[in-house]
């Protein structure tokens, strides 16, 4: 009783120390924790491995040729940026990944919608897609080189092969997850098939599809190094591969960390778009 009193008075009057509430137990099963606690744990999760890495590199226990410290990696990144065209490497890699992913998305979106909506399309395409998606994308490299050549198209093609088939199936699944009651309600209001897809199925599955696009973007990045195996002479993946030849482990570390960082940034951008587009109606009371 007294806490509500405090709270309501606190709202009306000038800033005042909020009444101390009982904080929930930290290790409760599926328990909620405050934003501050969350951030503290998140930071610890990042800093602890970084410190461990630094300590291991400093200890002299590991040969610095094979395990460079964080300082060496940062230095390498700096010189890569100033002398070795890191910006260009990042640019071309982003171009290839986003290109391959976008090409996948453009084709997978309508196909996934059709597979998830119409049984005959599902029967015709889903087993086939399921079959192809188990084929290793790397194994397609020789074919891609023969068919497309060794320019940008081939790198985009590898990333496309790596993401497309998963993406189609996931989008079809997102579409199938639309509650049947939403569809039938529209039918009883006189919606045509085309209207069902355009006015119900697509808008209803949009948030899930955006999540699929975000997740497959992550997978597209994992295919970058593979794609840049194909007669590349630029890009982050290529740089990593080349660094192996010159024993530049610091560059390998830097390249891997950069790919992770770029992936994380893109992922956060997707989440932001998701919140902006759908947050308004998806949040429960």
């Amino acid at each position: 009783m007294s806490t509500t009193e405090h709270a309501s008075r606190g709202k009306l009057l000038a800033p005042r120390v909020p009444a101390r509430t009982h904080s929930p137990p930290l290790w409760a099963v599926r328990g909620e924790i405050s934003r501050h606690t969350y951030l503290a744990f998140a930071l610890a999760g990042l800093i602890v491995p970084l410190l461990a890495w630094w300590a291991l590199a400093r200890s002299g226990f590991a040969n610095p040729t094979f395990l460079p410290g964080p300082g060496a990696v940062v230095q390498r990144l700096a010189s890569w940026w100033t002398d070795d065209g890191l910006a260009q490497d990042i640019g071309i890699s982003v171009y290839r990944v986003v290109g391959g992913w976008a090409l996948s998305a453009v084709i997978a979106l309508p196909l996934g919608l059709l597979i998830g909506t119409f049984r005959p399309v599902q029967a015709m395409l889903e087993p086939l897609t399921d079959f192809i998606r188990y084929m290793p994308a790397v194994a397609f490299i020789p074919l891609v080189m023969l068919w497309i050549g060794i320019d940008e198209g081939s790198k985009i093609a590898i990333i496309f092969i790596g993401t497309f088939f998963q993406m189609v199936l996931m989008i079809a699944e997102n579409v199938r997850a639309v509650p049947i009651a939403q569809i039938e309600a529209a039918q009883t209001m006189g919606a045509t098939r085309e209207e069902l897809v355009r006015l119900v199925i697509f808008p209803s599955s949009k948030p899930a599809i955006l999540d699929t696009l975000r997740i497959t973007m992550g997978w597209a990045w994992t295919y970058l190094v593979v794609a840049e195996l194909v007669a590349a002479n630029s890009g982050l993946g290529y740089a990593i591969l080349k660094a192996q030849r010159y024993l530049q482990t610091d560059r390998i570390f830097g390249g891997i960390l950069l790919i992770g960082l770029i992936g994380l940034l893109i992922d956060q951008a997707f989440r932001l778009v998701h919140r902006l587009c759908f947050g308004k109606w998806m949040t429960r009371r």
């Binding site: 209001m189 006015l199 998806m282």
Partner: protein, 280 residues
């Protein structure tokens, strides 16, 4: 009852699910006539086909034998004169309450003869429904921000927007808590009085079926069939106190006993009885 004057007439309707040895008779020789402005409730144990029958009326399921006529015309798929209210998940979460209610305006069927005045009428209709359903203050909210009871009111308002002559309700209050359900009962009775619609209402709650219905149709499973039709011996104007009247309780007892007899759960009951006997 006269075939021609019935609002809905269901004649010897059968429906099968599955093929070969796995085939089951979901509905067997269903005969039922529903009069204009009547409120009919369907109850029965699970698997008795009550929802299937309702979905047939809604045009969402086809029949294998027999005939279903609405106003003397055979049913061919869904139609705007037969609106349907589902148990849940039928609202469009990306649309506001008002947009949900006016969803049908986005469809070609209703746009074809749309003039400025019909648009005005439609939006006036939405206003009136928002008012009578107590939704005016949340018209710009999204469904996820509403309680379950409010969401069902939106679903009912949306179904009524097109002035259907028949309202088909498939356990619309099944997911609501008991208090909210009682409020919804009086609301739907009010709507029925106001709109002069014919209502076919599926439920597994016998009390709900008696309180709302002019007639209670008891269905039985394996095969899905109509077992008994009860006339509800209550005045047309219902009020919650009637749920405690002797006539109400007697009918409830009769129907519950009959459901138990027809549900095929008899073996379970026998087993339970045996268990209690051995326990002692």
């Amino acid at each position: 009852m006269n075939f021609l004057s019935s609002k809905i007439s269901i004649g010897r309707v059968s429906k099968y699910f599955g093929r070969g040895s796995a085939q089951i008779r979901a509905l067997a020789d269903i005969e039922l006539d529903v009069q204009e402005n009547e409120f009919v409730t369907l109850v029965g144990a699970s698997g008795c086909g009550k929802s299937t029958l309702l979905r047939i009326l809604g045009g969402l399921e086809t029949i294998d034998e027999g005939a279903v006529r609405v106003d003397g015309q055979p049913i061919e798929g869904p139609g705007v004169e037969r609106a349907m209210v589902f148990q849940h998940y039928s609202l469009y979460p990306w649309l506001t309450v008002r947009e949900n209610i006016q969803f049908s305006r986005r469809l070609k069927t209703n746009r074809r003869d749309q003039t400025e005045s019909t648009v005005e009428v439609a939006s006036g209709r939405a206003d009136a429904l928002l008012r009578s359903m107590g939704l005016t203050h949340v018209e710009h909210s999204y469904p996820n921000q509403l309680s379950g009871g409010m969401q069902q009111r939106v679903a009912i308002a949306r179904a009524l927007q097109g002035r259907p002559s028949i309202l088909l309700m498939d356990e619309p209050f099944g997911a609501l808590d008991a208090q909210t359900r009682e409020v919804m009962h009086d609301l739907i009775l009010h709507v029925h009085g106001l709109e002069k619609t014919t209502i076919v209402f599926v439920t597994h709650d016998v009390e709900e079926a008696i309180y709302l219905g002019h007639r209670v149709v008891l269905m039985a499973p394996r095969p899905g069939r109509i077992d008994t039709i009860y006339d509800v011996p209550l005045p047309a104007r219902r009020d919650p106190d009637m749920k405690l009247s002797p006539a109400f309780i007697a009918l409830k007892r009769e129907i519950l006993a009959r459901i138990r007899e027809t549900s095929g759960m008899k073996t379970d009951l026998d087993m339970l009885e045996q268990l209690t006997r051995t326990a002692v």
